[in-house]
Every structure is written in structure tokens, then in C-alpha cells.
């Protein structure tokens, strides 16, 4: 059996390791298009903060991790897939055969059509190569403009601020992290950033990037030596052209990670998989989904049957020491109830969303102990019973509710 995995990110690597365990005699190969050993984009902000060196970003600690397991890691870029021949063709013209193929090509920064975005003073912050370039230029005292204060932008924000740059952040949405948190929580983040010396411009679009900075709609100008874009990501689908693999926002997969084409599976940022909370299919470009996908795709690829329950969208963010998180349907659903606490003086916010007596989503600012239980309650569809009423009255009693409904107490 030959397993071929395209993409050396968390989904691909987790899949490869699982396949090795599940099918000890098979050939397992990862093809990745970057020169470094498999590494984690999640770690890049910490590289910029100089908390870790490049080795510290590697997905696996030991250099011989993959070789030891008989996992072949090949550098190369897949140009096309030939499902009939069970082959892929790399850019250098070489071909690799497969019995089962996993598409785990991840995503890339989206580049909005802003004049000047291709300029020499503009960079995204996605790859190790990007990080090296930013580290060289975002030095203490330099002026940096960050376009985009979504989840990724906000993670980069902290890294930049800690490098001692004069930082301005521009977000087109009405608030920071608009797709992760509601207005009150987003407002807290903004106020916190501003109180820590970061200029935050929300609800404004960028008209152009110029040599000396960023021109905003309405005429304001933000001076910058370096402009960093973090305006969202899109799945890497280019290699699928002509393959017959069905694509919407990402590669459509079923609950067994199968695409519409036999023996081709997909996982991670590139995949449009089952959303646990909505029952529909969506791209959840987050680390936990990538690893869960990778693992379970491998289980299915190995011939076992594992029906995916779907991914819960979730994020955790550290914004200059202010921690926040979001889970599932944090914006709530029609007919559901919600409990909310808002303490702006203390930078705290907590909102729990219910459907019936089940938790379906949450937002929290300033709460970071035991937050995993929010996932646990959502993903287990725990019937909270009387605890739902208690949480409606006092959502801070979350751990009690969790313990009482899931543990023997």
C-alpha cells in the first residue's frame, strides 16, 4: 500500500504518523513545498517574539523523527493529479504514484486588490521565509502597519508589539476579530491594545499602500516603514485543476474525509468538512481541526471506518496579555438563549450560547483556566438540565456545571 500526502503541515504530518501506526508495512510519503522540515505556522509569532528559534517551530522535535518512522518527506510542489493513473506530477516533472492520496495542502494568505500591495515594503506573515524578512525589518522603533485584525492578524499583532515597533493596526470590520467575537469583546480587545500603545483603526478600509505608509479610505494616512498584511487565507486548490476533485470553498469531503474522487482524501485548511455545530460543510482553518482531520483521515484511508462528527470552530488569542477565546456558534442561534457578563473595567467578558439546554458556543475575554470544557460541553452535546438555568443566572459557574453534568461527583 502506498500512501501519498500532499502538504507537510499539521494535517499531513498527523495523517502520516497515524498511517504508519495503523499500517506498519505501507509506504508513507509526505510531499511538502517548503525547504524546511515540517514546521508550524502557529509558532511563527513566537519566533518573532524570540521565544523560540526556528528549530522550535518544527512540528516534530527530533530531526530524524520521520526517517525513524519510515515516513519519507520529499520537498517538491505538486502541479497536478491524475486520478485515473493514481499519480501526481510535481513541478519538476517527476511523478509519484499512490494507492491513497491525501490532499493537505493548507492555505495561503489572501491578497486583496489594494494598490501597492505588491510593493517591496509589504509582507505577509505566513511562512518561515516571511518571518525572517519581518524579523530583519521590524526592529525596535520602526513603524509598522498591520492590515487586518482578524485572528491571525491579532496573533501577529502581539509579536510585533513585543518587538518594540510603533504599531498601527487597520481592520476593515467594525471591530477587532469580527469573525471570532462580538462587539463588546472585540471592543475590549481594541481598548486594551490602545492602552498598550497600539494604534487601532477599525471600520476603515485601505485605499492604497504607498512607500511611506498606508492611505486609508477617507484620506487618513498611517506612516509605516513596513506593512504587514493579514487579510485572511484561502485554501491551496491550484493543483486540483483538471483532477475532477469537487471544490467549493475548499475541497469537499464527506464524513470519512473522502472527496468525490476514489482514493483521494482531504484534510486540514484545504478541506471543506463537516461543521459539528451547524451540520453544514465549511472550511475551519485552525490548528485543532487540522490535526483532528489528519488523524481521522488516516484512519479512514487505512481501511477502517471512522465517521467524523465534525469540527468545532474555536480560537484562543493572547493579545498583549489579554486572553480571549471563542468556541462554536458564539454568535448564537435563532430561538436560543444566552447568558452574558460584561465587566469593561476589568477587561472581562463571558458569553454562553445555548440551544435548549445545550451549550453551542461561547466567547470569553479574561477567562483562561479550564476553557477546554467549553469545547467538551459543546462537542459532547451535554444536556445541562438544571445547570443551564444556573448558568443563565451566573455563567461563571461553568466548571461546576461541567463537572456536575459530565463527571462523577
Amino acid at each position: 500500500m502506498q500512501y501519498l500526502i500532499i502538504g507537510a503541515g499539521p494535517a499531513g504530518v498527523n495523517a502520516a504518523e497515524a498511517l504508519r501506526r495503523l499500517d506498519p508495512d505501507a509506504s508513507v510519503r509526505i510531499v511538502g513545498d517548503e525547504p524546511e522540515p515540517p514546521y508550524s505556522r502557529m509558532a511563527i509569532p513566537y519566533l518573532l517574539m524570540e521565544r523560540v528559534d526556528e528549530h522550535g517551530t518544527h512540528l516534530r522535535e527530533q530531526a530524524d523523527h520521520f526517517a525513524d518512522r519510515g515516513i519519507i518527506v520529499t520537498q517538491g510542489r505538486v502541479a497536478s493529479i491524475d486520478p485515473a493513473a493514481h499519480q501526481v506530477t510535481l513541478h519538476d516533472g517527476s511523478r509519484l504514484g499512490y494507492d491513497r492520496l491525501l490532499i493537505a495542502t493548507g492555505s495561503s494568505p489572501a491578497s486583496p486588490p489594494i494598490p501597492g500591495i505588491d510593493g517591496p515594503n509589504v509582507s505577509s506573515c505566513w511562512t518561515l521565509a516571511d518571518a525572517r524578512a519581518i524579523a530583519a525589518r521590524a526592529v525596535s522603533g520602526s513603524k509598522v502597519a498591520l492590515i487586518g485584525a482578524g485572528f491571525i492578524g491579532s496573533i501577529i499583532l502581539e509579536a510585533l508589539a513585543m518587538r518594540g515597533v510603533q504599531l498601527s493596526v487597520i481592520e476593515q470590520g467594525e471591530r477587532m476579530v469580527p469573525r471570532m467575537m462580538g462587539p463588546q469583546a472585540g471592543g475590549l480587545l481594541q481598548r486594551w491594545c490602545e492602552s498598550h500603545g497600539v494604534a487601532v483603526h477599525t471600520g476603515v478600509s485601505v485605499e492604497a499602500i504607498e512607500a511611506k505608509g498606508v492611505r486609508l479610505a477617507g484620506g487618513r494616512f498611517v506612516e509605516a516603514d513596513l506593512v504587514i498584511t493579514a487579510t485572511g487565507v484561502r485554501p491551496n486548490l491550484g493543483l486540483l485543476e483538471g483532477s475532477g476533485v469537487k471544490v467549493e470553498q475548499g475541497v469537499l469531503i464527506d464524513r470519512h474525509f473522502r472527496t468525490n474522487v476514489a482514493d483521494i482524501y482531504a484534510a486540514g485548511d484545504v478541506a471543506q468538512g463537516l461543521d459539528f455545530c451547524t451540520g453544514s460543510y465549511a472550511v475551519h482553518a485552525i490548528q485543532p481541526t487540522a490535526t483532528d482531520h489528519g488523524y481521522l483521515a488516516a484512519v479512514n484511508m487505512s481501511g477502517r471506518v471512522a465517521e467524523y462528527e465534525g469540527s468545532v470552530n474555536m480560537n484562543v488569542l493572547d493579545t498583549l496579555g489579554l486572553l480571549s477565546c471563542s468556541f462554536g456558534r458564539w454568535e448564537g442561534v435563532d430561538g436560543g438563549e444566552h447568558a452574558e457578563l460584561y465587566s469593561p473595567d476589568d477587561y472581562r467578558y463571558l458569553s454562553l450560547q445555548f440551544e435548549g439546554d445545550r451549550l453551542i458556543g461561547a466567547n470569553a475575554v479574561g477567562l483562561f483556566q479550564h476553557v477546554g470544557v467549553l469545547r467538551g460541553l459543546i462537542q459532547r452535546r451535554t444536556a445541562l438540565g438544571e445547570w443551564k438555568d444556573r448558568l443563565m443566572r451566573d455563567p461563571t459557574r461553568l466548571m461546576e456545571a461541567y463537572m456536575a453534568t459530565t463527571q462523577v461527583i
Binding site: L323, F368, G372
Partner: protein
């Protein structure tokens, strides 16, 4: 025989000796806020429940870690944070559906129970045997582990 922490909430008095022992073992200070085991109080019900990591066989935290900073202690089976690797991204804190991996603001890294290398300080400190370290077969942990796998995938 693998051993595991067994918790009997009915015996707990809420004294927090376990939290102090844990924080002292791991942080060198008596500091319940930095304990890997936490006692939750149910005032209305008159119950106390110690709670910590069950060291699930297929650990969600470990899988979610982007930098291989959660590794298995071969002797105890514990999932252990490798401090030198942990970047503090906190993904494991939201990935663990039991909420037993927590961020330590002081160190900028996450903390979780590592069974103290096979001699858990909490169990030694507990005055009522509400926390004991015993053969894993007896703890009912298998049920929790089964859940850990089941809720990710229907029939894994």
C-alpha cells in the same frame, strides 16, 4: 501495570492540600492558582471534587500541539509538557475537552498534570485518601478514555 490517579469526591473535604502539594512540587511555591489539580466546590450540594488530567490514551492536547511539546512519559504514560518546546500558543488549552491543560501567565507556557514522574504529590498530601494513585484498571479511566475517542469520531 500502569497506574493512574483515582479520585473519590465523596472523601474530599476541600482542604486544598493537594493543590499546595502540586504547586510546591512543580513551582516551588504554595500556590493553588498554579496547581495542576483543582478542587471544585459545590456549595449548594455540599460536595467537593478534585479534578485533573486523566492522561487519555489518545491525548487531544498532544495531537493539537503544533510543536511537539507534549510528549509521553514512557514510565508512567503521562502526557508531559516539554517546557523547552512549548511556545505558549494555548491551542492545547482549547483542544482538551476536559479543560485540564491550563496556561500559566507567569511562565508563558502551559501546565498540566504529569503524575510527578510516578509519585504524585497530590495523592501523598491528601489527608482523606480522596486522591490515590492506583492500578489504572480500577479508576474507571477507561470510560473517560473511551469518551475521549468517541466524541471525535463516531466509531473510531
Amino acid at each position: 501495570m500502569q497506574r493512574a490517579l483515582h479520585i473519590d469526591p465523596g472523601k474530599c473535604t476541600g482542604c486544598l492540600q493537594c493543590e499546595m502539594a502540586c504547586s510546591y512540587e512543580n513551582e516551588g511555591l504554595f500556590n493553588p492558582a498554579k496547581s495542576r489539580i483543582k478542587v471544585f466546590t459545590f456549595h449548594h450540594e455540599g460536595r467537593f471534587a478534585p479534578y485533573t488530567c486523566t492522561q487519555c490514551a489518545d491525548a487531544w492536547c498532544q495531537k493539537a500541539c503544533p510543536v511537539d511539546a507534549i510528549q509521553i512519559d514512557r514510565n508512567t504514560g503521562a502526557k508531559v509538557i516539554v517546557e523547552a518546546r512549548c511556545v505558549g500558543c494555548k491551542v492545547c488549552t482549547i483542544a482538551c475537552p476536559f479543560g485540564t491543560v491550563n496556561y500559566n501567565t507567569a511562565s508563558g507556557k502551559v501546565i498540566k498534570c504529569d503524575l510527578c514522574g510516578g509519585d504524585p504529590a497530590c495523592a501523598k498530601a491528601c489527608p482523606t485518601a480522596a486522591i490515590t494513585y492506583i492500578d489504572a484498571d480500577w479508576t474507571g479511566l477507561d470510560k473517560m478514555r473511551a469518551y475521549a475517542e468517541q466524541s471525535l469520531a463516531g466509531t473510531a
